[in-house]
């Protein structure tokens, strides 16, 4: 019956168009992003065509992009990491402290320390989620408080000032290579590596499998715990490196660095088509989502909307994205059923 008559994909227009629609998930928001840039640039050519404008367009979302890539990896495994903002805060402050307390420390070591601390905090999240079998939402809500609290207790009313950081390090935050900001280059490298990993390595594909159906993943004999912990470690490490870069970019680090970042990162991933129920989406989508979020933020005042409304626009975007995904899913499901029906 059914299986015998299934036509091979190559010639099946229905399947192919479904494939296109799916691909359009990332293309769709990329188009939205371009539209925003075009509208803002038409209102004010400086938005794109001044050297600062071009730089900020690339630079501003870079940090969020790094964090959103990590968040997307976690969400793909059907988990969520609410603690990224707190992790970023801690590593940003650690960065400053290292430069102050160990004069002359090579920035490379600081990066290693930041990534290490982030990974450690991620490991704590992942281990609690995997072994205690408690939902990530609760665990990372708890560690959001804990990490932030530790940060504030450690920082006190201290703050890192730009002058505490060596100029060479700060150049990382503002420097450019071929008029592309170093931070953006770094973020894109992270993105490409993550995307390559998720697509081409077994362990990357297993993350999708786990998010798609954790029970089936268990039946397959996939190492679910190890992969979930790995995803949290990556998310923590990326938030950690984002913290180091935050210090380089903003120069000033107070105990509130990264406050509220978690919702932005989740928002970016969701807008980019990463399903909160796991198994679907790509880090490309999350990255474009991050760009869209922050670019809209900068574009609103330019097109004459008070930027107070920015958050409302973000909300509409998130809801629009998930509703769109749902509509696409329902339509695809119906089409697949009808397809089954059409067969003799």
């Amino acid at each position: 019956m059914t299986a015998v008559d299934t036509k091979p994909a190559a010639g099946n227009p229905v399947l192919r168009s479904i494939g296109h629609v799916l691909k359009a998930r990332e293309t769709g928001i990329a188009i939205a992003l371009i539209a925003v840039i075009v509208v803002a640039t038409v209102s004010n050519p400086n938005f794109l065509f001044s050297s600062d404008g071009f730089r900020d367009l690339l630079l501003t979302p870079s940090l969020l992009m790094v964090v959103a890539v990590g968040q997307a990896i976690v969400i793909i495994t059907r988990n969520v990491d609410l603690s990224v903002g707190s992790v970023l805060g801690l590593t940003a402050y650690l960065t400053g402290r290292l430069f102050i307390d160990i004069p002359g420390i090579p920035p490379v070591l600081v990066f290693v320390a930041g990534i290490g601390l982030g990974a450690l905090l991620g490991l704590i999240n992942g281990a609690l989620v995997a072994f205690a079998k408690v939902p990530a939402l609760v665990i990372t809500l708890g560690t959001l408080y804990i990490y932030r609290g530790i940060n504030v207790a450690w920082t006190g009313s201290d703050r890192i000032n730009a002058s505490d950081l060596p100029a060479g390090f700060r150049d990382l935050g503002t420097g450019e290579f071929l008029s592309i900001p170093l931070l953006t280059i770094f973020a894109v490298v992270v993105l490409v590596v993550a995307a390559w990993y998720l697509r081409n390595l077994r362990s990357g594909r297993e993350l999708y499998a786990i998010g798609s159906d954790p029970a089936a993943a268990h039946l397959y004999g996939l190492r679910v715990n190890r992969r979930v912990i790995g995803a949290f470690v990556v998310s923590g490490a990326l938030a950690g490196v984002a913290g180091v870069l935050y210090a380089a970019r903003y120069g000033t680090v107070s105990s509130s660095a990264g406050l509220g970042l978690e919702l932005q990162a989740i928002g970016a991933a969701v807008i980019g088509g990463v399903a909160i129920s796991g198994g679907v989406g790509s880090v490309w989508g999350a990255a474009i989502g991050a760009y869209l979020l922050l670019t809209i933020n900068r574009a609103l005042p330019i097109v004459g909307i008070q930027d107070f409304w920015q958050r409302a626009v973000v909300g509409v975007l998130i809801i629009g994205a998930i509703v769109l995904d749902r509509v696409l899913a329902v339509r695809q499901h119906r089409r697949l059923i009808e397809q089954r029906e059409e067969k003799p």
């Binding site: 107070f308 909300g315 998130i318 998930i322």
Partner: protein
Amino acid sequence: MTSAIDTEHGRRTYSAYAHPLWRRLLVTRESAIIGLLFLVVIVATFAVPNFDSPLTLTFLIREIAPILLIALPMTLIIITEEIDLSVASIVGLSSVITGLGVQAGWPLPFAAVVAILVGTVAGSINGALVTFVGLPSLAVTIGTLALFRGIAVGLLGTTAISDFPEFWTDLTRMNIPGTPMPLIIVPFLVLAIIFGVLLHFTPFGRSLYAIGLNKEAAAFSGINVGLTKFWLFVMSGAVSGYAGVYFTLLYNNARGDNATGLELQIIAAVLLGGVSIFGGRGALPGVIAGVLLIGTLSSALRLAGVTSDIINVITGVLLVASVVSASFLAWLRTKRVAAIGRKKGRAEASDG
């Protein structure tokens, strides 16, 4: 038809409960939290100077009243295995609406009713997206968290409205005459009783637990899962709207960023109070004790000069510890049952 089923064998009798009443009441998550609350109060009374002042109670209740209020519908929502992250944004939105209303010259009660209605509409948007569009509530309310907050901030910018009629602000801050108990406790108690009865003594409440534990079985038992959830989100919106009015009058201040971050405190308190994030488990007394526990602890620590960051760490640790310990206890229990099963299995095997 009953006659058909009466078997010829003598009827068995069953005891309704496996354990005596005291054990069922005392050996629970709820009583553990209530016990912990009493412990904290006693220790603080002796160890923290000025904790025994009546002002402590006044300030404590006033400050946590919004959390207490919103924790009620939040409990019901989490019991059905959903979540509402947008409550604090609805508080902010309702606060702004109250402020704008008063600024436009409306009498305060009218402005308040409009604000509560706006909250209710916001809640029904959540409910509709979750129920009729079929989206996960976590994703929906992350979106509306930004949306409602964005509207609130957009309407008022970062300016504040702070000229509310003195009669109402005084009323909000008033105590029940002769006691250090703020007046807000009265509407809270009324709502707590309504929600408590709804959850624990009505068919509706029964259906909430069933939905939380097994949606499919609930649907097969004639429970309209979607509609039930929809109403819960509406209730949550309405109560958040009311809390927004209270918040505005208490601080005599309508701002778009009022109550930012409150949602996480509410959820932390509800989970600490013994409600399972997986749904289907938890009781209102535990939740109220959970809110009071976090509030009392931070009040005592603040009085003792401990900074707010340590208080946050303690909240986080309590939250993580409470869920991890719950899952640890569950694991121990399955181990025990499994051990009994194994013994039984071996016995059966040697018989056969």
